[in-house]
Amino acid sequence: MMKRLAIDAITQARSADRVTGTLMNSAADLIARVRSGDEEAFRLIFERYARPIISFIYDMVGERGLAEELTQETFVRAYKSINTIRDEAKLSTWLFGIARNVARESLRTRRQTDRKVEMDDPAVKQIHDGRMSPDEDLVNREINQAMHDALGKLDEDKRLVFTLKVFQQQSYEEIAVITGFSMSKLKTDLHRARAEMRRMLRPYLEVPR
């Protein structure tokens, strides 16, 4: 039920975003304004997409500080190459494509082995802002940590496809554009990623009877 509500909310938000986009500040309008030097338009783009981009990059690299830096890098690159976007309606897909390249370059400069080092990110383990958490929050934090660890254990391609599909709710076609993967590779990687995540998160996935 929760899952349906969450997915419905995300779908509606994206639809609303599309509707809102057609009424005011559509992606095409914003891009045209950025091209003419309107900094405010680019700030709107940043405000609209920075959160999903940083979430995606964080899922890929596993470190909060690094995710912030790479998110900034993503938007700087986007600004510099704003004239290269071919389909203004696909701004989200284009931005995720840049983010994917930025994350991949970062991962390539680091060790490609298991991300156990990154799993010790103190930012993930600490209680946020020093607040004391009730038991429910402790359980949620445990699940979050388990999810974070499990993501880190996927190989890069599976992590990429899984993150874009499950967390960012991108369509198969959009993921194919972002990643450059064929549809068959995409579906295979996604299926295998789900199986691995299921195995790693089994204690948290028992269906209540």
């Binding site: 929760m2 030097g37 700030r43 964080y58 900034q72 949620n140 499950v166 028992e206 269906v207």
Partner: protein, 332 residues
Amino acid sequence: MKCDEFTSLVEEYLDGNLTSQSAERVRLHMSSCEACANVFDELERENEIYASYSREVDVTPGMWRAVRAQIHEAEAPVGIPALSRGWLAGLFAPRLRPAFGAALAVLVLIAGSFAVIRYLNQDSANDLNAVNSAPANLNPGKKALVTNPPATPGLGDVPRASSPTVRDGSSTALASSKAPRTRTPRREYPADAATPAITAPPPEDDVFAYIPPTAGESNLGIARHVEKAEMLLRSFRNVRLAETSHAPDVSYEREQSRKLLYQNIALRREAASQGNESAENVLSALEPILLDIANLPNRSTAREIRSIEQRMRKKEIVAALQLHSLQASNSY
């Protein structure tokens, strides 16, 4: 539909990626197969867990400022301080480039005209002296600007190359030159043995002579600027004190800071060129504070404003500005 086919399609069914016909077949199979219905429930549970995933990463105001700074770092002309390009770079935005280029061309033309007129007047003054001493050598084509030149010794010996106006390529060539005034020596010009005392007044009729600001005039300009800056910083401090639960409005302070910043840069350089250390120091201390205020985002947080206010307090900048104003008023 068999269970194998169901297993291969159920994920795409949950992703909404099946045709309506295939989706209907999956639903029908689930309704009649308990094992496959359990598989579906498990996948739903998985998606619920994923939907509840919280990453503890967020977009901070500092991230946008960092992006903005990097963008302007990349596109602004060389020599302009990076942090001041936020609005200054707006002058170089594509939509303003033609207008800005035209304005720049006009300024260069005016500066060039002053230089040429100055050069010609200097030349005429030399010719007049030549007329007085050796009329046979005078170029008949040259007209004298005056009939009674002052008997200033050595003016005919002034090499044209040492004329400040001819060499001066700085923007100060546009400074007002309403009436002949005492000329202040400028550090950047080389000493020339043949040049008369550089504090000597220009010819009285040399109305087009460029006269750089005197030290007194510069000090007055700096004093006025420092006064405005002090008022701005006090106003900024009061914004923080008066903040309510919503984000305080610092748009006025931000705009004023941008105006004062450009002036501060120019005055600081002038103070440095004139050897005015105390002014240079106070303007150098003030500049980063003006930069910080000028770069505040539209919706600044109390924390950002507090941070600037703490830096102001640490530098005791308001007191330094007050002291400078007091010293300046005592010297007049």
